[in-house]
Symmetry: C2
Subunit: 304 residues, 2 copies
Amino acid sequence: MNTMLKADTPLYLGIDGGGSKCRAVIVSSDQHILGEGLSGPANPLRGMKVATDSIISATQQALTCAGLAFNDMARLTVGAGLAGVNVPQYFQMFSDWRHPFKALHLTSDLHIACMGAHQGQDGAVIIVGTGSCGLAAVNGDIVEVGGHGFPYGDNGSGAWFGMQLLHHVLLSLDQLAAPTLMTDLLLQELGVSDSMGLVSHFMHATPTTYAKFAPLVFTAADAGDTTALRLAEQGAAFIGAIAARLLATKPPRLSFIGGLAHKLMPYLPASVQQQVTPALQTPELGAVWFARQSSQAQSYATSL
Amino acid sequence: MNTMLKADTPLYLGIDGGGSKCRAVIVSSDQHILGEGLSGPANPLRGMKVATDSIISATQQALTCAGLAFNDMARLTVGAGLAGVNVPQYFQMFSDWRHPFKALHLTSDLHIACMGAHQGQDGAVIIVGTGSCGLAAVNGDIVEVGGHGFPYGDNGSGAWFGMQLLHHVLLSLDQLAAPTLMTDLLLQELGVSDSMGLVSHFMHATPTTYAKFAPLVFTAADAGDTTALRLAEQGAAFIGAIAARLLATKPPRLSFIGGLAHKLMPYLPASVQQQVTPALQTPELGAVWFARQSSQAQSYATSL
């Protein structure tokens, strides 16, 4: 038991629930991190039971870490940023969840990433990881662009680069396009010698499978390979268009996050690069900001 | 019982086994079609049992149609063109099959399509349906290009066009690209009003789902929509590159088959269009040509 925390102290729980992991953080009303937890996928696409089990499991870890008891869940004001809750059907499923918390405020994982990056203040964020998307939150208005899923969306993302890599390598092996260094890099990485070997590897590939090979495009581009350079520029054009759309909302700050962000950065227009500021906090801490602001807005609305 | 056929008359069975259907045709040694059959998927990707059940079922129908008994299967010299047998693992699985026929000669569905199109003679064929690929058979050499699967390959195919359509519509709805007529066409076709509605429809889309919407690109291109025109040209460039590669082998004939072939034709270079000749026979009759030629080659080898 954490004897430092009186039973009536407000406690906030931030949840960052993605397709592969769920992170939880408990924060006191005076902004101290008390405990953290990590569990599996919390995306409702995998089913509500998997998602809610992951959330509860990460929360229990965070409670234990904070020296609190499991029944202290009823004290937690929760902000949860979950992949997929921008789909109305999944938002409804989570709203109907008989959760064990004091309150549960729901939003997208992208929104809490933005709130974390700017410590709860206005700003814009672009994620370039396995997928790609962007969000600006300015003066209470939210603009969300990109994303939508793979293979038709998530342009300029890791999955997109990996798929384009394979596409160009297969064209080249078929002698339908010029040779590219990416062919040698990909064949070597997979230990195969031809198209057939490549295709067997990618036959049931997920976005994560493709994204794993995205860095090879940048290795080849850095070595001056023309096809890879063009590809890096194409991907950067997609991300640059997202940036331009978000910057049009005049956000005070713009941050890039995600595993491919730093590789793509040099290919973005200088005008975008100059405006990029580092993300200040994690998405789960962004979820805490969201919980605070949502519960304050609610108390304010109730007191009117 | 078909009393016209003596018990020692050679009989050929042609099988065209694809991902959704299996067609069978029985042909006499003097080239008369005796019976036909149609069943479900014969692609080993769906499992060997499904594939062999489909082949047997289509064969039984063709035997019945020909007035023959099921145990006449043992008289059939079979040519089978099966999607997927270009993958060594699946070729081996089919080679190991304890089939009920006199002989079974295996090749790809693309190869028998080519043999059918040119009545067993040398030539080249390009398929532009749900997928896309091309093959040339000239002087005993076979060149195969394209295909490889979706979404990284099958460029310029129905699935590719459908995915590109969705890609451009989402970019346009996100105001990341210029408006396009394809947006109105796709939203109307699906009876949805925004990106969310589109994405829900395509979340678990197969190549067939995408291919269904490919014709909308050509509707928009015919109406002069710039984005759709550029897309039609891009798709045609992929198919044109396949054509150029096959024409370099100097095939006496070149045929296009598949549901999207006629829509794409006007966008191909005039030099390619001028060389296109109609397919003369179906792929399953191509499989019969393959059976004849393979068994003759075998007898010749044995008699040496």
